[in-house]
Symmetry: C2
Subunit: 155 residues, 2 copies
């Protein structure tokens, strides 16, 4: 719903992520190793918001031997390369999302039941564009969390 339809101006998604990563690494005199490719691939396979342990699990599932340390190190590199970005999270583990072409994640959290309900708030797209325009910036994504309870649970 967010990408693919909007041609012209902001088109920057066509280049495969691995190419972006490779280029950014080279620019820093760093190497595009098989481990890093596997981590990137696992992350793409996870689609959406993920945390380090999910990446590690996904790699294990694929029978790729990449150490925990390398996963963490690669995640940092990908952040620097602008391929992923850290986002707000509620749990104890850091969460990230692919920086390009990702659906934003808007959720409603029920404080009484701890349920997390995905919601669709199309207005936010326009809202965030307007805010960014006013500040002279370009929007890259957003995240909204609404907290709510059942009406009778008036505390």
């Amino acid at each position: 719903m967010s990408s693919a339809s909007n041609p012209g101006t902001t088109l920057r998604i066509t280049e495969p992520l691995c190419a972006v990563f490779r280029r950014q690494l080279k620019a820093e005199g760093q190497k595009y190793t098989p481990e890093r490719a596997q981590v990137l691939d696992a992350i793409i396979g996870l689609d959406g918001i993920f945390e380090a342990e999910q990446v590690i699990d996904e790699l294990r599932r694929r029978r790729h031997r990449v150490s925990k340390a390398t996963v963490y190190r690669t995640i940092h590199l990908m952040q620097e390369a602008g391929i992923i970005q850290r986002v707000l999270s509620e749990g104890d583990q850091a969460q990230y999302q692919l920086a390009y072409g990702q659906r934003p994640s808007d959720t409603l959290v029920r404080l009484d039941t701890r349920e997390v309900i995905p919601i669709d708030v199309p207005e936010l797209e326009a809202l965030r564009e307007r805010i960014c325009r006013e500040l002279g910036l370009r929007a890259q994504g957003h995240r909204l969390q609404i907290y709510a309870v059942a009406p009778e649970d008036a505390s």
Copy 2:
């Protein structure tokens, strides 16, 4: 700033938080100790979104001897009592906010400079009310984070 003026309908803020806490504790057969009062007080003094270490620092500043363990335990109790709620956070530490009468925290994060800019998005109030109404829930707060970069930083 928030209470005292608005009587009637949604009034639920007039009761001091310490009274709410005390009542909830008693209901569970638990005690309202000086340490817990000091923790609550420190949190109120912090106003807004806070993390455990800030509470510990604030207590130290006030020369109150409350152990780290007690601070964490009290934070959990306050969550159960509905006085504070855990919110999405970007760093490595858990963040909380007072559950009542708090301004929502909307921010714009510049991915290129890592700057965090508070923004005012009045539309969100209506938006979240509408969404909650549709779901038959009562809104308690929200948090929005917009990610953006400078336009020339087209990566």
